[in-house]
């Protein structure tokens, strides 16, 4: 029995903790002129997440570490950050899925103004979101006492894009958005797609006109960065291509 335990790899025991090094890009607007990297060593279980490591640092080592999180379960979309150079949700990234023999680099998402540590100003992101009118516009009235019904097939058309949690992981992974803040960005186009292809909505034409702009869908270079970054697995590049086709057809 003792022999078996000795031979077993250390990491197979889920209660075995190990030291993980996190290198976090810190920025304090009151004290710093430039962001800088800071190392932290934390004891972690393999089943814990990067968010737990950040909590541990904030609660036990350095209370000034600033980051956003709300639900901590991948739904609110608050804790998108660049972990080892890839945009992910800290609450959905397990320590055991990363290479812990090397330090884990954590920084704020790119392309949006950095406010403090891992917090960025999301206002430009939400501004382009608002601009595509992400709400149902129905000019017709349903029959008395009736709801707006929709067939399963009609719902299926935009099912993928209803999953967006507005975490900005896609938009802040887009190289076009990095250099051109005027570009609507993948998230806004995904949310426009959700209503453009909704059979109950009557305002698709207006949204298509908005996205047929100089800074609209045509800036997309189909690099697939957004699809790779999306923590919800939305086929974003495909959605953008569908909007492009709808604009060329002139209708959804």
């Amino acid at each position: 029995m003792a022999q078996v335990v000795e031979d077993a790899p250390v990491s197979s025991d889920p209660t075995q903790t190990f030291t993980v090094t996190l290198i976090i890009r810190r920025f304090d607007p009151d004290a710093d002129t430039e962001p800088h990297w800071q190392d932290f060593d934390v004891e972690m279980l393999p089943t814990e997440r990067v968010l737990d490591a950040l909590h541990k640092i904030k609660w036990e080592t350095d209370g000034s570490l600033t980051f956003r999180r709300s639900c901590a379960h991948g739904i609110c979309g608050s804790d998108a950050m660049r972990i080892n150079g890839r945009n992910r949700l800290a609450c959905k990234t397990l320590i055991k899925d990363l290479d812990i023999s090397k330090p884990i680099y954590v920084e704020a998402i790119k392309g949006l103004p950095l406010e403090k540590d891992l917090v960025v100003d999301m206002e430009p992101f939400f501004e382009s979101y608002r601009e595509v009118q992400p709400f149902l516009v129905a000019n017709s009235k349903p029959g008395a006492g009736k709801e707006r019904t929709q067939s399963v097939a009609d719902r299926e058309v935009f099912d993928d894009t209803t999953k967006c949690i507005l975490c900005a992981a896609c938009t802040s992974s887009c190289p076009v958005f990095w250099t051109d803040g005027q570009y609507f960005g993948p998230a806004a186009i995904v949310n426009a797609h959700r209503f453009i292809f909704d059979s109950r909505d009557d305002n698709a034409q207006v949204r298509l006109d908005i996205l047929n702009d100089k800074e609209g869908v045509w800036r997309c270079r189909t690099t697939f960065n957004c699809t790779e970054a999306c923590p919800r697995g939305i086929q974003i590049t495909k959605a953008i291509a569908e909007v492009k086709q709808a604009i060329m057809r002139g209708k959804p």
Binding site: E127, R130, E131, Q133, P175, V176, T179, D180, D209, I210, N212, D213, K214, E215, G216, W218, R219, R221, K244, I247, M248
Partner: protein, 149 residues
Amino acid sequence: MSQTIEAPRTPAIPNRSKGTNWEKWGWIYMRASGVLLVVLIFGHLFVNLMVGDGVHAIDFAFVGGKWSDPFWQVWDGLMLWLALIHGGNGMRTLVNDYAHNRGLRGTLKIAILIAVVVLIVLGTLVITTFDPCPAGSPADLLPSICKGL
């Protein structure tokens, strides 16, 4: 702080789109010319490298012969225009994405435009006015195919 509340559904940036949407037409051009160029370039490579003696057949006379045929003049002319504008537009896209400095961006785009225009003008001139045996040239400078003329 006083703030006026806009009417509902007022666009955040009104009148965003004015005039021709170049970004859209640029995108459509890239797709259309890309499809045409696949046919033109692979046709060009097939005829030059594989038909008959293949690559060994290419010499001054081969090129001169092709450019005396209106079919190949149109083929090569189309290839020249489509490919250079396609490439130039692609380079413009790269500059827009990666040149962060406004002045540098403008300079690079003007340089690309000049290169494209010069190459198109020069290429078109060669394709349309090419004469392998210009009259009045010294005989020792002319290729052998001109002897019979």
